[in-house]
């Protein structure tokens, strides 16, 4: 009752949108990729995801109670963090790994900055790079798809880095996810379905994902081959976590620039860093590092792309 009497500044139009509603829609948009992951890698993928989500939600709840803040568990942000973290893990990791990662994501990636809406970095990625630095052994052991005996295999990008020839993987395999990789990043088709939902709902804009993917593709096309302008750009776009990162992690509301111009800069930066790390860095995949580094520059981008208020200089 009392809330209705508060007069606030314009706009006065109400929409049924709220943080919780948007976030649960994002959760729904991630479900296809989860189903694809379970089909491709077996039930383990589901357990890893559940472990990460449970740990993330519990951590959020406990830290929320400790700091006596408004309880923000039910708005779904912790669930998203858990799912995105799990999507960035191989399916055969021991179950404590997603749990530790999720606790770290929520505690260091989010709670220390004051919780919801104040984090500087994408929490799931903070957890992911922490796990990557701590237990590289588990984080880089991938299994072959559709194989119950858990035969290990390299991801296409890792194989490329080691200089192996990749003739048996077609673009269609990459698109459908028939190759080794993290459990949520392999099936491009499912990810695009989810992303389409977010586009239709207008929860994400085209600026970041498209500039990100385009920049990576163009850079790889120019510098990725033996000669200039001969790189396999389609392979680089379809493999690794680029699609997952571009649509679901680089579009995080909190840790990315606010204005369209800022988002374009952000996307181009992510694309350049990803391509540079993939082509010359020590790691086969650079998406998470690229997004984190650009997250760090976000306050700056925001400052220099501020929309001029009419009548000011």
């Amino acid at each position: 009752m009392i809330n209705n009497l508060i007069v606030s500044g314009s706009p006065h139009i109400h929409k049924p949108e709220s943080v919780a509603r948007i976030m649960w829609t994002v959760v729904i948009s991630l479900i296809p990729a989860l189903i694809a992951g379970v089909i491709i890698f077996g039930a383990n993928a589901l357990w890893v995801t559940l472990a990460a989500v449970t740990a993330a939600v519990l951590t959020e709840l406990i830290l929320g109670l400790c700091t006596r803040k408004k309880v923000t568990v039910f708005d779904g942000t912790a669930v998203i963090t858990g799912i995105l973290l799990a999507f960035n893990l191989p399916s055969e990791v021991p179950l404590w790994l997603p749990i530790v990662g999720a606790v770290f994501s929520i505690a260091i990636g989010k709670a220390v900055f004051g919780g919801l809406g104040q984090n500087i970095f994408n929490p799931a990625l903070v957890g992911r790079v922490f796990l990557m630095a701590s237990w590289p052994k588990y984080m880089t052991t991938f299994t072959l798809p559709f194989n119950l005996d858990a035969v290990t295999s390299a991801t296409p990008l890792a194989a490329l880095k080691e200089g192996k020839v990749l003739e048996h993987i077609s673009y269609l395999d990459l698109f459908l996810g028939k190759h080794g990789g993290c459990l949520g990043e392999v099936c491009i088709l499912a990810l695009l379905l989810g992303a389409a939902l977010l586009f239709i709902k207008r929860y994400i804009s085209w600026h970041i994902p498209f500039t990100y993917i385009l920049t990576t593709g163009v850079f790889v096309y120019i510098f990725g081959g033996d000669k200039l302008f001969s790189g396999d750009w389609l392979f680089h776009i379809l493999s690794g976590g680029l699609i997952l990162g571009a649509f679901f992690m680089a579009t995080d509301y909190v840790a990315t620039p606010l204005t369209a111009r800022g988002q374009l800069i952000f996307g181009v930066g992510c694309g350049l860093l990803t391509a540079v790390i993939r082509l010359w860095g020590g790691y086969p995949e650079g998406v998470s590092y690229a997004i984190l580094m650009m997250n760090a520059t976000t306050p700056f981008i925001d400052r220099y792309t501020k929309v001029r208020i009419y009548g000011t200089r």
Binding site: F130, A133, W135, P136
Partner: protein, 197 residues
């Protein structure tokens, strides 16, 4: 005598150079990968602190005020060179693992800070105990941080495995782990301080 003991103990808890004064963090973070390194660094820094405190409190009346900082630096650098050469001679392995951080004791803010804030105003015995206390406080803080990092980062303490089946968290052996540990420890100290008041 009681005063002197107080000069000594204040450096360990109440004015702990690392946690309370937040001085000299560069070497603290860099060498705290293992407890052995931390002890070596702590001893070297304590030696330099003690030596420079003694000399500076002895010559404090002869140094013109305007050039006191360069004078302090020369005195400190002399002791650092002594420590560096001794370490090279008697424990080359430690010298290698500490690397450039031994000569960098010269610019350790604790040493110059104590010279400027304490030794140049107080007599020999008080400066001696102040330097000793600060050195011990610095060493203890280093050992605390390095124990946390060595245990989490490699599952060992002083090279002995403590818990079987523990999967080491490699990140604590890395620079980012050091920053994380010191950040959380400083937060913890703030929390304790808040609770007490």
């Amino acid at each position: 005598m009681k005063n002197l003991i107080k000069e000594f103990t204040k450096g360990i808890i109440k004015e702990n150079p690392t946690f309370v004064l937040a001085l000299g963090l560069c070497p603290t973070l860099a060498v705290s990968v293992s407890v052995a390194n931390a002890i070596g660094m702590g001893i070297a820094a304590t030696f330099v602190l003690l030596g420079s405190s003694i000399i500076i409190s002895l010559v404090r009346d002869f140094i013109p005020d305007r050039i006191r900082i360069p004078c302090y630096i020369v005195i400190i650098a002399t002791f650092v060179t002594i420590a560096e050469l001794c370490m090279k001679a008697y424990s080359p392995a430690l010298d290698r693992s500490l690397g450039i951080y031994v000569p960098l004791i010269v610019v350790n803010c604790i040493v110059l800070g104590r010279a400027e804030a304490y030794a140049c105003k107080n007599n020999l015995s008080r400066s001696f105990f102040d330097g000793l206390g600060m050195g011990v406080g610095f060493t203890l803080a280093l050992i605390l941080i390095s124990a946390i990092r060595e245990f989490l980062g490699s599952g060992q303490l002083l090279g002995h495995t403590l818990v079987k089946g523990f999967e080491p968290v490699f990140v604590f052996g890395m620079p980012s782990g050091a920053l994380l540990v010191i950040g959380l420890l400083l937060g913890l100290f703030n929390l304790l301080k808040e609770k007490r008041t």
